[in-house]
């Protein structure tokens, strides 16, 4: 039975963590607790719930900056931004439903702590790239700050980068400042129908090598395309490769037409999604919608060099064939692979990591039962000097290992 601590001020967070440090009482950190299933399970007697650190404290659209309590729901921030035709350019996914939690509940602190980024990662950067400053409490129980509220700053170490993707193992975030950007006036998505994976990856690479500022490049095999709630995609009856361009109206039309022309030699049938359907389509991909319904599958997320994507999938599909049918789709021009396979005790971890050993990259076991995520490393294991360095970094913030102990690895 865990006790939930729900501090209402940064000072109370410091108080709670100082108490935990003194008593060596591990804390599980949560915002809205939508991604509890993500990461290695944490054994902690107490939960530190940061959802009461709530509210936008500064938003200056013309300075491209917004500050908020770490527990502020993303949905609230996105609504405020939409009111000024702005957005979070890193397109944070809502992974709640993937873990059986309700949609639309995740917090800004959670998105940053997990460094979650959507399809636009390839053009606009990830959560890490938009994280400008923070106030936080370290595992020592000390309130401190780093970064700032200006978009260009090199004063001191860039601790925002270090915290993005630290999964609450270094600090409890209390306030965050992020860079925001104008929302595009218009969006178009070019669909290429019926390409084999390897051809699709090359097509996406060509699109991304062009000067057309592609802001999304994904490929879905026929079975997954058919299940998407976007009519043009669902009734394509075949694999769909999607290439997104965004910007001022005349520019978007020009670039979409140019891409269509430049990729005509592939001989694929083409379609175009306009703004509304584009938004639906990319939101589905962003939130890994194809794998939400069947909770029985284990879900992997692989980040690899884009051109290696198709080969990695071919290797995996062949090796995992004995387990039953696996499903997958590509984002980030082939560089991000979402892969679902029938659940097994070890989620085929060795096979999955073996498949990327040659090309480089990392594989994260995003969804699997708790026992599996204890039995196999959720995050890519590191070579020893790097693993030891990471442990020393952890100790420099949290010497008694009280913040989300074990979340990143058994040692961290």
């Amino acid at each position: 039975m865990t006790t939930v601590l729900r501090p209402e001020t940064p000072a109370q967070v410091a108080e709670a963590v100082a108490w935990a440090a003194a008593d060596e009482a591990p804390l599980e950190l949560v915002g809205a607790a939508t991604k509890r299933g993500l990461g290695r399970p944490v054994q902690a007697g107490h939960t530190l719930d940061l959802s009461a650190l709530y509210g936008i404290t500064l938003y200056e659209p013309e300075e491209l900056v917004l500050s908020a309590g770490a527990g502020t729901p993303l949905a609230e921030i996105e609504t405020a931004l939409a009111g000024k035709q702005q957005q979070l350019a890193f397109e944070p996914p809502d992974l709640g439903p993937l873990f059986g939690a309700p949609a639309g509940k995740g917090t800004i602190g959670g998105a940053l702590a997990c460094n979650l980024s959507g399809p636009r990662r390839i053009k606009a950067g990830g959560a890490r790239d938009h994280f400008l400053g923070f106030k936080a409490v370290s595992g020592r129980g000390e309130a401190f700050k780093a970064g700032s509220r200006v978009v260009k700053n090199v004063t001191g170490y860039d601790l925002c980068k270090l915290l993005a993707g630290s999964y609450g193992t270094l600090v409890a975030l209390t306030d965050v400042t992020i860079k925001v950007l104008p929302a595009p006036e218009k969006t178009r998505t070019l669909l290429l129908v019926g390409l084999a994976d390897a051809v699709a990856v090359r097509a996406m690479s060509r699109a991304l090598q062009s000067s057309h500022e592609v802001s999304g490049a994904a490929h879905l095999p026929a079975a997954l395309a058919a299940a998407l709630p976007v009519e043009l995609v669902a009734r394509a009856g075949d694999a769909v490769t999607a290439i997104r361009v965004e910007g001022p109206g005349p520019s978007v039309e020009f670039r979409c037409a140019a891409l269509r022309r430049e990729l005509a030699d592939l001989g694929a049938a083409t379609e175009e999604l306009h703004s509304h359907n584009s938004a639906l389509f990319w939101r589905g991909l962003r939130d890994v919608a194809p794998f939400v319904a069947d909770r029985q599958t284990a879900v992997w997320r692989l980040s690899v060099p884009p051109m290696a994507g198709a080969q990695v999938v071919t290797t995996l599909v062949a090796a995992l064939d004995v387990l039953g049918k696996s499903q997958y789709f590509y984002d980030w021009g082939g560089g991000l692979i979402w892969f679902a396979l029938p659940a097994t005790a070890d989620a085929a971890a060795e096979t999955v990591r073996g498949a990327i050993a040659a090309c480089g990259g990392h594989a994260t076991l995003v969804r699997a039962p708790d026992e599996t995520r204890v039995a196999v490393p959720v995050f890519q294991p590191q070579p020893e000097p790097l693993a030891l360095l990471s442990r020393r970094v952890k100790e420099s913030f949290d010497p008694r290992r009280i913040l989300n102990p074990g979340r990143l690895s058994a040692a961290i």
Partner: protein
């Protein structure tokens, strides 16, 4: 500026250390002769000079690893150096420290257009990367003004920016992977051709760490296709306020220009006198706004920016009609530093960032400071992101002028922090702004930063004396004072 007291024992071992290093880096790679060490005694912050103990110029990662291991085992400090263009003294040598030059790491290792990246050794220049890929129409986006000379490894150490970084990001946003050597000699690889870190984002932490955490031996950066076209507007305003308001309105309208630069009256006059770019001389603020992308987009946005400029009272307006004219608009801005160098024997370049809305106040206060110190100041400003480069005019041959210029500069930076900005936007802390860190950070903030340094370099051997105003021993920093007590705030709901 006080540097740590040199270690007499190490100074006495100079010859032995040089001999030991020669076993690792044979031949001309170890420089011990006083005259030959002289070219290394300063970087781009030329007011400070110090001859290093020994210069070592390795050419392989294995040599870097062995040099660092040797220095670590023998308690010898190490200052890494790329091209030595730092404007904050990041590569300022130490009398008792080995200067580790990466200049021989000057090869492009791989160009991978399909994955849109380049793998390069750290001594390759920033422009060298663009030069290697421009035949296919690609370029490397961050473009610090020293790009012809500065090294990509140095760019990583300083997280260098440039005039295009509002739209295209700083070094950290364009970096995919590193190979680096820890002070213990261990070689680690971070990232690669894929995106995002596995585990802690040490790639992000390394970027901008000013040579205090490790020595970079290989860099993988993202490259982009050059925009189809670019056009620029030259806009003159009767006041700095109206120029600043115009910048805010452009961004509020959802337009992120490829570049958006501002100059104040002294900078405009100095630049125009030097390169005759056709700048209007009867304005207080001049904006260069560059739009890049497909022709149809650029033409569309030029029209919108023109309308915004008109609405904000622009009194001079030119739109580039040719590539030649666009280059001409930029010529004055790009020559602003040497132009100021023509009107003053010396100048001191500052680098604060402010929330842009504070610009009129900051310029007004800067004018008052200028009168107080009796030193002129010209301002160039990366207007889109609020990064201000005041150039303080002084004469190093006049007694006390350097000190006055430094005091003036410190006052400007304190003001930047006071209005919600920061000490440095792209030049780094180095030795220059080290003692101002308390303006932005309290003791707890700084100690947490130093604990990270301890995680990488417990002996404090890598580039000591930079970034942190006070050095603490790692054992002291690591100590945790605990106060046992009750579970706090028992009256709060706990479910």
């Amino acid at each position: 500026m006080r540097m740590p007291e040199p270690d007499r024992d190490v100074l006495a071992r100079r010859a032995q250390i040089a001999e030991d290093l020669r076993r690792i880096v044979p031949g001309e790679g170890v420089i011990v002769d006083a005259d030959e060490r002289r070219p290394y005694e300063s970087d781009g912050l030329t007011a400070y000079r110090q001859s290093p103990l020994v210069v070592v110029l390795p050419s392989t990662t294995e040599q870097v690893s062995q040099v660092l291991r040797y220095c670590h085992e023998n308690g010898v400090k190490v200052v890494p150096r790329g091209s030595g263009t730092s404007l904050s003294g990041g590569a300022l040598p130490l009398a008792d420290g080995v200067l580790l030059g990466l200049g021989k790491f000057n090869r492009i290792l791989e160009i991978d257009f399909e994955n849109r990246c380049v793998v390069a050794q750290p001594g390759v220049t920033n422009l060298g990367i663009t030069n290697a890929v421009q035949h296919e129409g690609f370029y490397y986006a961050p473009d610090p003004s020293s790009q012809i000379a500065c090294s990509i490894g140095g760019n990583v150490a300083e997280n260098s920016g440039g005039v295009h970084c509002l739209k295209y990001g700083l070094t950290t946003n364009n970096l995919l992977g590193l190979e680096m050597v820890l002070v213990t000699g261990e070689v680690i690889r971070l990232g690669g051709k894929h995106l995002d870190a596995e585990g802690y984002d040490l790639l992000g932490l390394m970027t901008g760490s000013e040579g205090l955490l490790g020595v970079v031996t290989e860099v993988t950066v993202r490259i982009l296709k050059k925009p189809e076209t670019a056009r620029a507007l030259l806009l003159g305003f009767p006041t700095n306020e109206s120029a600043g308001d115009c910048v805010a309105a452009i961004i509020a309208a959802g337009i992120i220009p490829g570049g958006m630069e501002m100059m104040d009256r002294p900078a405009i006059h100095a630049a125009e006198a030097f390169v005759h770019a056709g700048y209007p001389l009867d304005v207080e603020g001049l904006l260069i706004v560059e739009l890049d992308g497909p022709q149809v987009e650029v033409d569309h946005l030029i029209e919108r920016v023109e309308a915004i400029a008109d609405a904000h009272g622009a009194v001079a307006k030119q739109v580039s009609q040719s590539e030649e004219e666009r280059q001409k608009f930029w010529a004055g801005r790009k020559a602003a530093f040497p132009a100021v160098g023509r009107i003053s024997p010396d100048y001191y370049c500052m680098d604060g960032t402010i929330p842009r809305s504070q610009l009129p106040l900051v310029l007004k206060r800067m004018g008052e400071m200028s009168a107080h110190y009796g030193l002129g100041v010209a301002n160039v400003f990366h207007a889109g992101d609020g990064n201000l480069h005041p150039l303080i005019l002084y004469d190093a041959n006049k007694p006390d002028e350097l000190e006055k210029a430094e005091a003036f500069g410190a006052d400007i930076l304190k003001l930047c922090v006071a209005v919600g900005g920061v000490l440095t936007g792209e030049h780094g802390v180095g030795v220059e702004k080290r003692d101002l860190m308390h303006e932005m950070f309290d003791e707890i903030d700084l100690k947490q930063q130093q604990r990270i340094k301890c995680a990488f370099d417990a002996g404090g051997l890598l580039n000591p004396g930079k970034m942190f105003p006070q050095l603490h021993r790692c054992a002291e920093l690591g100590r945790l004072h605990v106060h046992h007590g009750q579970l706090p705030f028992p009256d709060l709901p706990r479910f």
